[in-house]
Symmetry: C2
Subunit: 334 residues, 2 copies
Amino acid sequence: MAKVGIREVARVADVSVGTVSHYLNGTSPVSDDKSRRIQAAIDQLGFVRNNAGRQLRLGHSSTIAYVVPDVSNPFFATIAEGIEQRAAGRGLSVFLANSKGDQPREDAYLDLFEEHGVRGMIVASPGQIENRLASLSARGTPTVLMGQLASSPSQPSISIDDVLGGYIATKHLLDIGCRRIAFVGGPLSVRQVRDRLEGANRAVRESGAATLEVIDVETRVISAGHAVGDAIAARDPAMRPDGVFAVNDLVAIGMVQTLIAHGVRVPEELALTGYDDIEYAGSAIVPLTSVRPPHEEFGVAAVDLLLAVIDGEAPDPAHLVFAPELVARASTAR
Amino acid sequence: MAKVGIREVARVADVSVGTVSHYLNGTSPVSDDKSRRIQAAIDQLGFVRNNAGRQLRLGHSSTIAYVVPDVSNPFFATIAEGIEQRAAGRGLSVFLANSKGDQPREDAYLDLFEEHGVRGMIVASPGQIENRLASLSARGTPTVLMGQLASSPSQPSISIDDVLGGYIATKHLLDIGCRRIAFVGGPLSVRQVRDRLEGANRAVRESGAATLEVIDVETRVISAGHAVGDAIAARDPAMRPDGVFAVNDLVAIGMVQTLIAHGVRVPEELALTGYDDIEYAGSAIVPLTSVRPPHEEFGVAAVDLLLAVIDGEAPDPAHLVFAPELVARASTAR
DNA sequence: TTGAAAGCGCTAACAG
DNA sequence: CTGTTAGCGCTTTCAA
């Protein structure tokens, strides 16, 4: 396979490389005759434009990067969709990377994308990476921090108000009559967990008429929910909470499964709400009430924010904070 | 931000650009003194190597692409992990792309990666793309087709024996005593669905003592399972199947939820098996028997196959076919 | 061990 | 409208 470049195309079409470039980029009009010859040559030779040359000359690529801890998390996947749509509309492609919540690996990807000269990055990270992002910016690659509110005013970020989310979830339980509330989640070193609990605290405090128990879990997956469900079912019924706010849907799904298996009626004896509104939430045995972050707008807003920074506009609110909303389903229907 | 390149580093360190390059790549020994000066200059200037220039000169990049219909599908996500591990071991990075099962979009990504000069691509596609992959290969980008057996002998592919999978799932139902088997899945235009049904047919035929009903569904998601579960529960108990092979776990999960809600006992009255062994399968109300494709080895094998092609070795078996295995759980425990 | 210099493929400025 | 040409940043001979 001989490498076929723009000059080979030019030779076959009997035009100059400049003309081929103009044809390719629409930089300047090309006569019909030559256009046809150029296209014919391209087809015949199977020419594919070499991005390295193009990018080197242009000084920048037309890609942005989206780095997440877990691509298979439906939450990030949905956002990715919004990002890709919006980016495509602006002529940008999106490179995806999976950091697995692993710092060195995340670092490696950030380096890789920087070397590749991406126009900007949207980074969701469970860790402390503001310094890292700051140096990227300083060297010319704009970034948007996703999922947590940046502490630096100059670091654009886009996040969800988890305190509010925790508040509305708990308020909902109180509104339907629950008085012995339990928050199931942990560890508190995770910002999102802490914030949600704080919101729950506030709602309970405001009500003045309810108690809040905290049931700590190490991981926030289905099996953790199973364990907690078993433990609650094993209690004397009088000692069980009558309303549970699970830190996320996976935990809630696990809980509802074991609770029902043990004969605890949901929502009659125990009302339950999750968080995140993942796809499976509505498909659980007892469809799950959940707190829904604005998935779609989130991705779009992230791209818009990034583009603003790329265009050199200091975005007025550098921090976008979205309000989640409650999706009430059978698990809290009294 | 002045652009800082290798020559700026060379200037500050008072060496030649060639020496900096050698330092960076270990291409040739560099004296300790100069090494120190170069590193100091790099740190001071915040130099980041420009991949475009490097790649242009080198003629190739050090990335491979992994294109899937749905990154959030746990099946592909797990494989991605294997791919990234293995690729990293060979000094390659992986770019991920989400085609959403959309042909034009898949095409766009294939083009994009080809222009970016990736070393090779691993492509999982629900569609017919062998011709497309063939032209990529012809132009110099090796590919591995994932998830379906390639019809062309020269197109490397890596797939799972779904006929066998369907066979062992159904055989298992027969072995535990089921005689009125139902296959829930569709449409038959999807290769994997067809193959699984074929395996089911074979098992039933071999047994000589059972019947196979086909219950068609349009989509293979939880809600489809709900609908089928409702329909089966509504039947006269004598008309219900006593063993169901669902085309995938999502459908099976949906079914088990509604069946139980309607009081149909699983597995006593109706044994049920899914397919794919996704994470949630073991976490269903009734833990689900499923057919497990070899996730981990799959990604590793795909990379190895791709690397072999990149290295110009005509891989001996161009087609790798993996055998799935049965994971028996409560949903078929009699 | 180091430096000088020739491009890799492409775009854009400029001249026609 | 079209052709000519100068680099973009980097690696890699080739000499020294």
